[in-house]
């Protein structure tokens, strides 16, 4: 049975060129980048080459890029270290109810340590309101953390407007760009972004690799303590092969390539929705129905079919899609994003799935997915009628 992978928002397969790069660097560049001898210097030069590429990808300066272990660490350091460093300016932080756990958990941590956090509501399309943000902004607000695009429903936040609003305010602006990085045109200067998190494995790169953009004028102490790597901003010996792989992954994300992907993902989305209609599957789209949005994410409420049941059945038919996160004992927890969007509709929260496309996704995958979900849906629907 051909496997169909439609969970690219969770992670993506590593591309051939990245594998080649990692394998090469793993074999030939074992030197510690912090040493003065040639073997170390050659590692260091790879590090710095990649840093320039990454900086260019968001219109930043190279000394504004800090390599980290990925999105989670970048979010954690940006939030916790900002709070710590700026507590003399205030202890109030603003974020949204639909952030990733890598943002929400640090917020909870800070709340337990004397900080006050305001969580912006979203409407049923997943949108925050700028007005609401304005109203929550206070003199003692030190940080606003709002994701660029949401990983569950693909809603895209008005980053430019938020940046404008915060331009003359003391609060730092952090955005989790983990999902948006592979598709969107990002410019930290145009949008007045102070801190930005990314991850390599969402763009066909390796796991446990990413960067934190930190505006040059901002001083934050290192979250991970130890050696003086990354100009004392992140301790730990750099993972040269992974970072080099990250560089190759970013290299392939040209403007043309991004546009090509967006066109492809939009056509996949249209095809799926059309076929769901043709097969009389009752559904609603969760999240934005029009641009702007993260084109690779399609979240739908399949009415009457519990998420876990649909997910398991599709897995048994070789299809990987997402449906929320599992608790430590494996069963699904209701999504906090859908709960924020549909607080009075638990059925919708518990009967929704996320399909996410990637550069490897083919037309064939979409056809197989449709064929298999229709089959499963009809069987489950029949069981319900019997």
């Amino acid at each position: 049975m051909k496997k169909v992978y439609l969970d690219n928002a969770a992670t993506t397969p590593v591309s051939e060129s990245v594998i080649k790069e990692i394998t090469d660097k793993l074999s030939n560049y074992y030197g510690n980048a912090s040493t003065l001898y040639e073997i170390g210097r050659s590692s260091k030069s790879i590090l710095e080459d990649v840093r320039i590429k990454l900086a260019n990808s968001i219109n930043a300066k190279e000394n504004e890029i800090i390599f980290t272990s990925g999105g989670t660490e970048s979010d954690n350091s940006a939030i916790i270290k900002t709070a710590e460093t700026r507590q003399n300016y205030g202890k109030h932080i603003i974020t949204t109810k639909i952030e990733h756990e890598a943002v929400l958990k640090p917020m909870k941590y800070l709340e337990n340590h004397g900080y006050e956090v305001s969580y912006l509501d979203v409407d049923s399309n997943g949108n925050i309101s700028i007005e609401d943000l304005k109203n929550n902004l206070r003199e003692d607000t030190i940080l606003v953390s709002i994701m660029m695009g949401n990983n569950e429903v693909g809603v895209q936040n008005p980053i430019h407007e938020i940046g404008e609003l915060l331009k003359d305010h003391q609060a730092y602006f952090h955005t989790d760009a983990v999902q948006a990085y592979g598709l969107k045109d990002i410019d930290v200067n145009r949008d007045n972004i102070d801190l930005l998190s990314t991850s390599a494995h969402k763009i066909n790169g390796p796991k446990m690799t990413g960067f934190l953009f930190k505006r040059e004028t901002i001083k934050l102490n290192s979250f991970v303590l130890g050696g003086d790597q990354e100009q004392k901003r992140r301790a730990g010996t750099e993972n040269i092969p992974s970072i080099a792989g990250f560089g190759v992954a970013v290299n392939s994300l040209t403007k043309d390539e991004k546009e090509k992907r967006i066109t492809k993902y939009n056509s996949f989305r249209e095809k799926i929705l059309t076929e769901l209609n043709n097969n009389n599957i009752e559904y609603e789209i969760n999240g934005p129905k029009t641009e702007p949005r993260l084109e690779h994410i399609l979240n739908i409420w399949i009415k009457g079919i519990p998420t876990d049941l649909l997910q398991m059945n599709l897995d048994l038919d070789g299809v990987a899609i997402a449906g929320g996160s599992a608790c430590t004992a494996g069963s699904l927890e209701p999504s906090h994003v859908l709960s924020a969007m549909f607080p009075t509709n638990p059925n919708r929260v518990n009967e929704s799935i996320r399909i996410s496309f990637g550069s490897f996704t083919s037309e064939d995958d979409i056809d197989l997915f449709i064929e298999r979900i229709v089959k499963v849906y009809n069987r489950l629907n029949k069981n319900r009628r019997d």
């Binding site: 876990d308 004992a329 069963s331 699904l332």
Partner: protein
Amino acid sequence: MKDNSKTRVVVGMSGGVDSSVSAYLLKQQGYDVVGVFMKNWDDTDENGVCTATEDFKDVAHVANEIGIPYYSVNFEKEYWDRVFTYFLDEYKRGRTPNPDVICNTEIKYKAFLEYALDLGADYIAMGHYAKLERDEYGHNHLLRAVDDNKDQTYFLSQLSAKQLDKVIFPIGGMTKPEVRQIAKEAGLYTADKKDSMGICFIGENNFKEFLSNYLPAKPGKMMTFDGEIKGDHTGLMYYTIGQRKGLGIGGDGNDNLPWFVVGKDLSKNILYVGKGYHNEHLYADYLDATGASWINNINRGEEFHCTAKFRYRQKDSGVTVKLNDDNKVTVTFDDPVRSITPGQAVVFYDGDECLGTATIDAAYKNNKQLQYV
């Protein structure tokens, strides 16, 4: 070998050795096996960790060893509504319920069965020790397991033939040591895992403490039927008929016979105690039971003789069953039976076949109801 590859069996895997071996054997027989862990109880602690986590990890280990997909399904709501609520209600009535019987009827062989069918199952299986025989008339006969000591037909007695239609018992023909041996030979991760004890949601925790979280304990007097006060009890729900431990009554210097719970009076909140294992108040001639449920609706007449168990792991006693209206039965014993306990299941057998069950309401001696609730 028969081609079973098109037959899907969804196995309820608890993370124990019995269900591990069940899944393993079915896979060996070529079935399309899917493992499902049932999460029936939420005991998540302040760190967000629950005991189910470890068990689910064991399921994952074994499923990977066998080479089958595995999932976790949450039945907490169903368990709470259909099993736990009943469990508490019975305690409130001063009875000693048997949640494992109802867990099988309502959760494992109902909610789980329905879920499995939705996963495309042709059959379900678990780690239960019991056997099944399908006769030429299409009746499903539930038979005792080969291992007398592990036979679980007592807990499965409330199932209907219809529920059994979709069931396979892979290990009913084996003894526990044989099951362990298979697990060892196959190198299963759970081969040496300790058997779980007690009721699933309480686990090995302190039962008294657990119950006190849900029901207020009402301490009262402990006395003999002659009115002699022997001390205080901590709440009637903590005691069961025939219990010896935990009374805290010393020998009386006469015969030094141990003391037992021989009765309860819920309305007066009195716990009756009596001396000696063979205390006369502990013996009954017959009982009344409700909610009689038969695996097969076979006409055995208004009154018939068979054997019965009144609690798990008890030897069978000869009984005469009389069917009354409203699924009530009167069960008369060939010989007096000790510590018949309201709330427990009386389970009927014909030789090796389990016929069905009913819930004990009252026990009688010389046509007089024993003061048990």
